[in-house]
């Protein structure tokens, strides 16, 4: 069994409430930080832990915190990103629903470290019921003296608010989130300046994912060095993975970073293998934005090494033969799934969610979606495939925020690894028009022959 740091008590009766949470060691990190540590010492522990942002990009959290500007007389803010809207990702929801106090505790300890006296949790509109859970937890924390004025008699003040978003994926992008939090249209800002210098209301701000903030709790409790002992290389600690698709046991798992992908998919401790005794066809390991991998690149890298659940190993091979850990939205496809249809589905999402500020993303996402839809219906042309590759290339890297890349990568990767399946859609429109076509005749990925000189 792997060690758990966040979900240790997720099955304890009443853990949603304050009493059970506290009885199981809750709020120790606040006591320790506020009474025994300076804010800088907390930052130092987080640096030592090697914790990397769990929102998708994997940026080292300690480093992000130390970049926060600290001009005299200007408030600083900590904002928790609970917008979780990436298709395939539902780990933050589980954590907040199950153990809301761990997020509140992490927010207090982290706010103290950053010198913030007002902090926000920005949660997606569709999670309104989770917002209620959080608000209850916050009320309990106030009632027990963990929030408000002069916390634990240390003179530290903190107010914590939950803000519910309007239900747009783009508000998960940190600067769009800040705009939305300020009550404006959720358009990503043009950077620089970065939030660390000019964030919420123009003040220095740190935006962190729910899981990142929760991980601060065990880091402060046990020390950064202890946390860093788990994992491999620069992938330290544990990670929540939301596993879905054609597996026997979909759900949220806390893994030690470094677990082999093969073990994660096939062992009974985790996903329990492919459902209904079928073969695995493909896997999207980090949420809809990351490149899809064909079966032969899921458990092994192109060099034939075991692929591990780490930032480095999942991206081994770059965009040619690798993918990314991303947000931990792990989607598995069996042999009967249609990759063209899946790619179209993803691109429909990005088309719908583009904010429309910059031309490549606004126009390109719709274009890709329409071409993919045509292919998916069996009405495409051979030239559509290269057209898609080209449009994706023209979006990638040329936009204001990474949503453009997130829309382009899945399309480019699907065509890179499953081109013959796209071609099949053009060549056999009669078969494709049957909505169950994937079931009648599985189209498995074709492993390219090794190139010999």
């Amino acid at each position: 069994m792997g060690r758990k740091l966040l979900l240790t008590h997720d099955h304890v009766e009443g853990i949603q409430g304050y009493a059970a949470y506290r009885a199981n060691g809750g709020y120790r990190s606040v006591e320790k930080a506020l009474k025994k540590m300076t804010p800088d010492e907390v930052v130092e522990e987080v640096k030592k832990s090697g914790l990397r942002g769990r929102g998708g990009a994997g940026f080292p959290t300690g480093m992000k915190w130390s970049f926060l500007a600290k001009p005299e007389g200007v408030p600083r803010y900590l904002v928790c990103n609970a917008d979780e809207s990436e298709p395939g990702t539902f780990k933050d929801r589980y954590l907040m629903e199950r153990i809301p106090h761990i997020l509140i505790e992490g927010m207090i300890t982290s706010s103290y470290a950053l010198g913030a006296n007002t902090s926000y949790i920005y949660i997606r509109g569709e999670y309104f019921y989770v917002a209620r859970i959080l608000e209850n937890a916050i009320a309990e924390a106030y009632a027990n003296g963990w929030l408000g004025k002069n916390i634990l008699g240390t003179g530290y003040n903190l107010d914590l608010y939950v803000q519910v978003g309007g239900g747009a994926y783009i508000c998960g992008e940190e600067t769009a989130l800040l705009e939305s939090l300020e009550g404006k249209r959720g358009n990503p800002r043009i950077k620089p300046p970065f939030p660390a210098v000019a964030g919420l209301y123009g003040c220095p701000t740190v935006v962190n994912n729910v899981e990142t903030i929760a991980a601060v709790v065990p880091i402060v409790n046990d020390g950064g060095d202890e946390y860093a002992k788990i994992g491999i290389g620069r992938s330290t600690g544990t990670k929540l993975i939301s596993a879905s698709g054609n597996i026997n046991k979909p759900g949220v798992y806390e893994i030690e970073l470094g677990v082999p992908v093969e073990e994660f998919i096939f062992s009974d401790e985790y996903c329990g293998g492919i459902a209904n005794g079928k073969r695995m066809k493909a896997c999207v390991p980090g949420g809809s934005s990351v490149p899809i991998l064909p079966d032969y690149l899921v458990c092994k890298t192109a060099a034939g090494e075991d692929r591990l659940m780490t930032y480095e190993s999942l991206s081994d091979g770059g965009f040619v033969s690798g993918s990314m850990l991303g947000s931990g939205g792990f989607i598995v496809y069996d042999e009967h799934q249609c990759i063209v249809r899946n790619t179209w589905n993803f691109s429909r999402f990005y088309h719908h969610e583009s904010c429309g500020q910059c031309s490549p993303c606004r126009e390109g996402t719709g274009w890709m979606e329409r071409v993919l839809h045509r292919l998916e219906k069996g009405e495409g042309h051979m030239s559509d495939i290269d057209l898609l590759v080209d449009v994706a290339k023209k979006i990638e890297g040329n936009t204001i925020c990474p949503l453009g890349d997130a829309a382009a990568w899945p399309v480019a990767a699907a065509i890179r690894h499953f081109r013959h399946e796209f071609e099949y859609h053009v060549l056999h429109p009669d078969k494709i028009k049957d909505p169950k076509h994937g079931y009648r005749e599985p189209i498995m990925p074709v492993k390219p022959e090794p190139v010999t000189a």
């Binding site: 904010c355 429309g356 910059c358 031309s359 126009e363 023209k394 040329n398």
Partner: protein, 323 residues
């Protein structure tokens, strides 16, 4: 204050700190200046949206010579000392820009022959100079109904490229903003909360900043093609604005009034709605002389087939457009 050295397409210039790459390139001259569809010098926070001004920074600065990993929007990236930039000299930039132009055109109606902006449309120029000749887009284009924004301005969203310039005009020039962007992505549109609500003295400047034919002057619409008109610098005593404008005449009749645009298509000074919409009699204006206008457009210049990227005469360049 020490000046910063920047080299763009092999040409070096020294500029004040805070200057963007785009401004520096304009100071060097039209041969290296990237096209800009959304940036507008006089509008704060403009730029960054259209992505036509993308350039490649091959050397970040003297201190940190690393190249920038992605192409950057030159209108929103400030110059560092020793920076080296490629614009037209980079294949990557030219390709990316071609992509941007294609994106801007896929939902554009391309009905220039019946559009009022023809002859002074920046999108026409842009696509002529930087685009590919044939669109690969085969789907239905997005269309909208025309709406009136107040009595004098018409909005035809079908032609809009969402450059946000008119939104900035509404934000920055007019009190009590009632105009903005609704919806998102491909169906985002410029709108007013109540269709007729844009009613204040400076709203007409939206027409001048609009790079395409989305916002047009209802007092002029379809009265004439711009290239049949003679632009004349003129001024009048106005208690609301500088009163410095261009009157567009046919014979002795004034067909329309606009701001005075510089070499880059940006107005020197904003004008009020009274000057723009109400003062159409020759006796309202003191004429200063014909305006040598860089009318930009390929149509007005009959430049189809020529390679000329830029057609302004040096006298027409305003002296202080970058201050």
């Amino acid at each position: 204050m020490s000046l910063l050295k920047v080299t763009i397409d092999g040409k070096t210039i020294e500029v004040e700190p805070g200057t963007t790459i785009l401004q520096a390139a304009r100071q060097i001259g039209p041969d290296v200046a990237p096209p800009a569809m959304c940036y507008y010098t006089k509008l704060k926070t403009s730029g960054g949206y259209c992505r036509t001004c993308l350039v490649k920074v091959t050397k970040g600065s003297e201190k940190d010579p690393r190249p920038m990993p992605k192409l950057v929007a030159s209108c929103r990236t400030t110059v560092m000392d020793g920076m080296e930039v490629q614009n037209y000299s980079s294949e990557e930039v030219v390709e990316a820009r071609k992509g941007v132009v294609e994106f801007l055109l896929i939902n554009h109606p391309l009905d220039c022959p019946i559009c009022d902006q023809a002859g002074e449309c920046h999108l026409q120029d842009l696509s002529y100079e930087n685009g590919r000749s044939k669109s690969r887009y085969e789907f239905k284009r997005r269309t909208f109904e025309k709406i009136d924004i107040g009595e004098k301005i018409q909005l035809h969203m079908t032609r809009c490229i969402l450059c946000y310039r008119c939104v900035k005009v509404a934000d920055q020039l007019t009190p009590g903003r009632v105009h903005g962007v609704i919806n998102r992505g491909e169906v985002a549109e410029i709108s007013t909360y109540i269709q007729n609500a844009v009613d204040n003295e400076f709203s007409g400047n939206m027409i001048d900043v609009c790079p395409v034919g989305a916002l047009t002057d209802k007092t002029f619409r379809f009265k004439s093609r711009v290239w049949f008109l003679k632009p004349v610098d003129a001024h009048r005593d106005c208690d609301q604005c500088s009163g410095k404008a261009v009157v567009w005449k046919y014979g002795n009749e004034i067909y329309r009034v606009t701001g005075r645009k510089d070499q880059w298509g940006e107005v020197d000074e904003w004008i009020c709605n009274t000057c723009r919409f109400e003062k159409k009699s020759p006796s309202d204006w003191v004429e200063e002389g014909p305006r040598k206008i860089n009318r930009h457009s390929v149509i007005s210049q009959n430049h189809y087939g020529s390679k000329t990227r830029f057609v302004a005469s040096p006298e027409s360049l305003p002296q202080k457009q970058l201050s």
